[in-house]
């Protein structure tokens, strides 16, 4: 039987209370959201926080809404809420496509957007989605709020810029009229972490890609992305050759490691194939050719 080490349990009724509980209980304190990464880690004693601050009651952080020219997603939004969101379905199909392959429906009922981003698992899917879309993440502390571009949010595997007494409260995604987006993932079995995954969006004007975003997961890509490949495509017509060249750049610039999910060359191959597919489908959607 797997049992976490003993800890002190607190429940926060508001963001302010969560922050003051973090301050009061010190550095060995962890926020408990969906718990589907943290509790398994605690059960095998990979994590043994002294205090858990349960934030599941913070309904104020569970929302997806259009605010001006941005979509605001509360950090406590469950994966299932992202999957079912009409606002996201209208603007970015990439979200539902990624969510459908994150864990399983039962885990998605509990797991949260903020928890996924803060866990910072290198194979996590939403990090690649938000990176592709160049979202901003809003972090709150007692002294106020700061906004961090998602590509500066992760410092490395399992490490983010969120400080000891801070809490991620929101993700903000710019609305890009007419953009198409898509997500592609290869996993060994239903619900598993990605062997490799990629997301992309394309925004067209007069047939040219005025903006492009590429997200990559599980392959050691810098900032879950490939800025060089995006630059290759920006302002250009996305011909099959241009897409193939960008996909090859992604393949060459990422840093996959060999593990039980596959060797390095296989993962690089997947990156090239999946980036090609994601960009191609995003492009078709931007052109209104694919539903």
């Amino acid at each position: 039987m797997q049992t976490p080490a003993t800890f002190h349990y607190e429940r926060a009724g508001s963001v302010e209370e969560a922050i003051s509980l973090l301050e009061r209980h010190g550095p060995e304190t962890r926020l408990l959201a969906g718990g589907h990464s943290l509790l398994p880690m605690m059960k095998i004693r990979l994590a043994s926080p002294g205090t858990l601050v349960d934030i599941n009651g913070l309904a104020e952080l569970d929302y997806i809404r259009l605010e001006g020219d941005e979509i605001a997603i509360g950090a406590l939004t469950r994966h299932t809420g992202v999957l079912d969101s009409a606002v996201l379905a209208e603007h970015y199909r990439i979200f539902a496509e990624a969510e459908r392959v994150i864990a399983d429906p039962l885990v998605r009922n509990r797991g949260t957007v903020g928890g996924s981003l803060c866990q910072a698992d290198p194979a996590e899917d939403l990090s690649a989605v938000f990176s592709a879309l160049r979202a901003d993440l809003v972090v709150a502390s007692a002294s106020g709020r700061r906004s961090v571009p998602v590509r500066e949010f992760h410092l490395g595997p399992y490490e983010t810029v969120v400080g000891e007494n801070e809490i991620l409260i929101e993700a903000r995604v710019p609305v890009r009229p007419g953009a198409g987006s898509a997500y592609e993932k290869v996993e060994r079995r239903a619900g598993d972490w990605a062997v490799a995954a990629t997301g992309a969006f394309v925004q067209l004007r007069d047939g040219l890609a005025v903006d492009v975003g590429i997200g990559l997961s599980a392959v050691g890509a810098d900032h879950h992305s490939c800025a060089e490949a995006e630059e290759q495509l920006r302002g250009r017509e996305l011909t099959p050759d241009a897409i193939a060249a960008a996909a090859a750049t992604c393949r060459d610039r990422c840093h996959p490691t060999a593990d039980q999910r596959g060797p390095v060359d296989y993962k690089r191959h997947l990156v090239e194939v999946l980036v090609t597919r994601a960009l191609t489908r995003a492009l078709e959607r931007a052109r209104g050719e694919e539903a």
Partner: protein, 161 residues
């Protein structure tokens, strides 16, 4: 800590350690052994119960997190000895062999049918993708879910058939 959890409509109360998992609260504190405890790693779904009407894996939920909330387990599916149509369908379609996955399957599929009374096969398969079965190959479980959708009430003559 003291927790108060409404389980199958009845308020339960106990002094527990914060680290106690909901599955053990149900099985060991309350003696409700219908909820199975399998992989312990949030993979198999044998421990699936409803938390405020939503199916969750109780091996990855603290009893403390359910404090003040409502839990429903497989013991609550029948009413006065009359099986839920889904349970009846599992019998009719041989939706179980060893039965270990069954409580989790039932709780997941009951939630699906409540939300979507006529799910197609793909929807059913996606819904149970977090519930592993080592015996049936899933075919009969999917058939049972379809059977329950087609027979949403349990008529007595079906039971005796």
């Amino acid at each position: 800590m003291q927790v108060t959890i409404t389980v199958n409509g009845t308020e339960t109360r106990a002094e527990v350690e914060p680290r106690l998992l909901l599955v053990h609260y149900l099985r060991n504190v309350l003696g409700l052994r219908g909820t199975h405890w399998g992989c312990d790693t949030s993979n198999c779904g044998a421990c699936t119960v409803w938390l405020d009407g939503v199916p969750v894996k109780s091996c990855t939920t603290l009893a403390a997190q359910a404090d003040g909330h409502a839990v429903r387990t497989v013991e609550d599916l029948d009413s006065g000895g009359e099986l839920d149509p889904l349970q009846q369908a599992f019998m009719e379609e041989h939706g179980l062999q060893c039965g270990f996955c069954t409580p989790g399957m039932l709780m997941t599929l009951r939630a699906l049918l409540d939300r979507d009374p006529d799910p197609d096969e793909a929807t059913i398969r996606e819904a149970i993708s977090g519930n592993l079965c080592r015996c049936t190959g899933y075919e009969n479980i999917v058939r049972a879910a379809r059977h329950a959708a087609a027979h949403p009430t349990t008529a007595p003559e079906e039971i005796s058939a």
